[in-house]
Symmetry: C2
Subunit: 154 residues, 2 copies
């Protein structure tokens, strides 16, 4: 997903009306490698489109997530991050800066995939690696340690 027609098509396909706001939000996400917070998206799109409101960004994100075009990532305590990479992938979360990087998709061995014995149904399995990213590994911040509670905030 990158070209203009593809973005429009993706929106239609998800059953969403094509508004300039939605187009811009999805285009922004599709052109990014790092995961953006709702506010970062607002700031960026707002530059080209000054009358955009935050509420619309949130509405749009909800619609996109619901339509399966975007994934939402919970970041311990911090603001949620959004990501338009639809190919499945795993994540690496930095304990120090809170940044999220993609990790190429791989399947868990079948024996492990059956480990969730809750009696329910499993739709997907995601692996989250935690540690210090390349940039933070060198100079970790004062409070940024394993617990990660303090790490992402303060």
């Amino acid at each position: 997903m990158a070209g203009q027609p593809e973005i429009a098509r993706a929106l239609r396909q998800a059953g969403l009306r094509l508004t300039p706001q939605r187009y811009d939000v999805l285009a922004f996400l599709a052109g990014r490698r790092v995961h953006a917070t709702a506010d970062e998206i607002f700031q960026a799109v707002n530059r080209a489109h000054p009358r955009l409101s935050r509420a619309t960004v949130y509405n749009t994100l909800r619609a996109l997530v619901r339509g399966g075009l975007v994934r939402e990532l919970a970041a311990d305590g911090a603001a949620a991050r959004f990501d338009a990479r639809l190919e499945r992938h795993h994540h690496f979360v930095c304990d120090a800066c809170g940044g999220i990087e993609d990790v190429e998709w791989f399947e868990l061995p079948p024996a492990l995939r059956r480990r969730a014995r809750s009696g329910g149904t499993v739709r997907e399995i995601e692996v989250i690696f935690r540690g210090f990213c390349r940039r933070c590994a060198g100079a970790p911040r004062p409070g940024g340690v394993p617990g990660s509670y303090t790490a992402t905030k303060q």
Copy 2:
């Protein structure tokens, strides 16, 4: 961790002063199988201890997490959940009700553990299973579908 002296010992060991509030919060978490939100903890502890404030619950949780006695779990968009099970384990998150269940710990095969090639250091690897839990598998809610954005809220 379950008996009274163990809880007190755990607090001391983490370098925390032993206050009734901290004791109660940790005891509550230690005696629970489901992961509780800060507010659920407040409600519960508040019954036995009516002058407890929410700020203290948050302060205590931060201290416990920092001291390594409690883990914090980010739940897509919703309030964070806390958990005093210290043995490593994975999680199952229900798309419909947002509930979180523990999945017994297992190691990823070494080949997969090396997949995070960010140049940084990896501290831990967690696996998150998503789907419908036993209770919701039978009767999923109106909006509660894969995206899980709407699922955890509304």
